[in-house]
């Protein structure tokens, strides 16, 4: 990991649309809406963009055509949530290498209005061989995580009430976030009463499919300092993949690749888990939060259940996590909105849900591609 890169690139602007059902906007429109907001956030214009990375929006050329962006560097990535972290890392690397100075990262998702389903005939989760298992009724990323959770329960005694503590904590954060789609806190009794989708997971363990767009403007730290908002410095980033056998849940709950990413990202940032003021954990389903906390060393292996049960992830807790409400309660923006929340936290602009004196905030995703990014209020 290149420590010299730490703090040299920053997020200058962030923009988000409303989240929910927005049938009059397609994915391109949602991306443009978010990008206009991100440019306004930092005081730049379309002509300042010389790098363009689009995600989930179907076509980069069409996006450039409708926005009049003619970049020096462009790429497009598949509409999978693991790619938000990958895209941000690519932007940092492109800027560090001089391929571009100011990169627009644009995400548009009209999945709710388009009726996207994550299970059944259109299931394309993982490496694409899912059709082989449809005859047995096996489908959906939710079921994949249900299988992982069942093993965690068997091996370590983890309980579904501990998943409930995660879902309740994120909903309490969402109750403080005007942009969140689901804002009404619920009790453990209500969690237990929620219907099972794929047992042991209930409806309240699943993320919220919605329409929305997110954009980020990433540039050199030097340029970011001259703009409208305080920079959110990229203090560390790392990635590791585990593809072999990945049609099936990993034996180690992705601890192997997470350990590599943790080592690299903390070394680059010159900080460790205890230094993080808040976490943004990719919460496609509640168990992923447990696996991430163990994999990144926030608690010993097998102890994530008791670790979260006391509410430490909730507002005012020792380790505020997904302060926007995350994918479970704000909206499933596939990691993008969690990265924006990290930026807003280190800027100190989160209002009622602001974490006091947030200097370092870590984003992480546990999936066949593990990524993590540490955002800092200060460059060093």
């Amino acid at each position: 990991m290149n420590r010299e890169l730490a703090g040299r690139v920053a997020v200058a602007g962030v923009g988000t649309t409303r989240y929910g059902k927005l049938p009059e906007y397609d994915a391109y429109d949602l991306g443009v809406w978010a990008l206009k907001a991100a440019l306004d956030d930092c005081g730049l214009g379309f002509a300042d963009i010389d790098g363009l990375i689009v995600n989930r929006i179907p076509d980069y050329q069409r996006f450039g055509e409708i926005t009049g962006i003619n970049p020096r560097y462009t790429t497009i990535t598949p509409g999978q949530g693991r790619f938000s972290g990958i895209c941000i890392q690519t932007a940092v690397a492109a800027i560090a290498a001089g391929l571009a100075e100011t990169v627009a990262l644009v995400y548009g998702n009209n999945g709710r209005s388009a009726g996207d389903r994550y299970g059944g005939a259109s299931d394309a989760y993982g490496s694409g061989g899912a059709g082989l298992w449809f005859p047995y009724g096996m489908t959906s990323p939710g079921a994949f995580h249900a299988l992982m959770m069942r093993r965690h329960m068997e091996q370590y005694g983890t309980t579904t009430d501990q998943l409930g503590a995660i879902a309740m904590a994120f909903r309490r954060h969402a109750s403080l976030n005007p942009d969140a789609v689901m804002r009404e806190p619920f009790t453990l009794e209500a969690y237990r009463a929620a219907r099972f989708i794929c047992e042991p997971l209930r409806l309240l363990d699943y993320c919220l499919i919605n329409d929305g767009g997110v954009a980020m403007i990433v540039t050199t730290a030097e340029r970011a300092r001259s703009l409208r908002k305080p920079p959110a410095y990229i203090r560390g980033f790392a990635q590791a993949a585990e593809f072999a056998g990945s049609t099936f849940p990993p034996d180690d709950f992705w601890r192997g690749p997470m350990a590599k990413v943790a080592k690299d990202v903390y070394a680059m940032a010159g900080a460790g888990p205890r230094d993080m003021d808040a976490l943004m954990i990719y919460d496609n389903f509640t168990p992923t939060v447990l696996f991430s906390l163990e994999g990144f060393g926030f608690c010993p292996v097998g102890e994530s259940g008791p670790f979260v049960a006391d509410g430490k992830l909730a507002p005012g807790g020792a380790l505020p996590t997904n302060t926007s409400g995350g994918h479970l309660s704000e909206s499933y923006m596939q990691g993008w909105a969690l990265n924006v929340e990290a930026v807003r936290q280190v800027r100190g602009e989160c209002g009622a849900r602001q974490v006091a004196d947030a200097a370092l905030v870590q984003y992480m995703t546990a999936a066949p591609v593990i990524t993590s990014i540490i955002y800092g209020r200060d460059p060093q």
Partner: protein, 132 residues
């Protein structure tokens, strides 16, 4: 008799030995002729040694339930009458993993199982598992 309405396996020519074996009541796997590693679904190259030479071999069909989950939601109309139903994640003794269903009873993690063959249509026999 009503028509079988659940999804059927994709008719991938590369996997036909597996499904032909199932019709005969034998669990067949592809095996690398260079390093001996078993695999399914079929692939041209071995993931372990990248060798290209392979054969299909019969196996005992024995394995262990690594995990399971229980569907309460039907993602296909034809499964609506069956919810809640279990899906098991089985690791065969040859190391290959399959998703399947358990015939007879509820799964437990660590349960020893053996393949059972379920002829769901004249053309297709699914590979399911029963406790040993």
């Amino acid at each position: 008799m009503s028509e079988y309405a659940k999804p059927l396996p994709p008719d991938d020519p590369a996997n036909r030995p597996f499904w032909d074996g199932a019709k005969r009541g034998v669990l067949m796997l592809q095996r690398c002729l260079d390093c001996g590693r078993h695999r399914f679904p079929a692939a041209r190259y071995c993931v372990q040694c990248r060798g290209e030479r392979s054969e299909w071999v019969s196996t005992s069909g024995a394995g262990v339930v690594e995990s399971y989950c229980t569907f309460h939601r039907a993602y296909w109309p034809a499964f609506a009458a069956e919810v809640p139903y279990d899906v098991v994640q089985v690791r065969l003794d040859e190391g290959v993993r399959l998703f399947s269903n358990l015939v007879g009873g509820r799964p437990r993690a660590g349960m020893r199982v053996r393949a059972r063959f379920d002829p769901v249509t004249p053309a297709v026999t699914l590979v399911k598992f029963a406790p040993e």
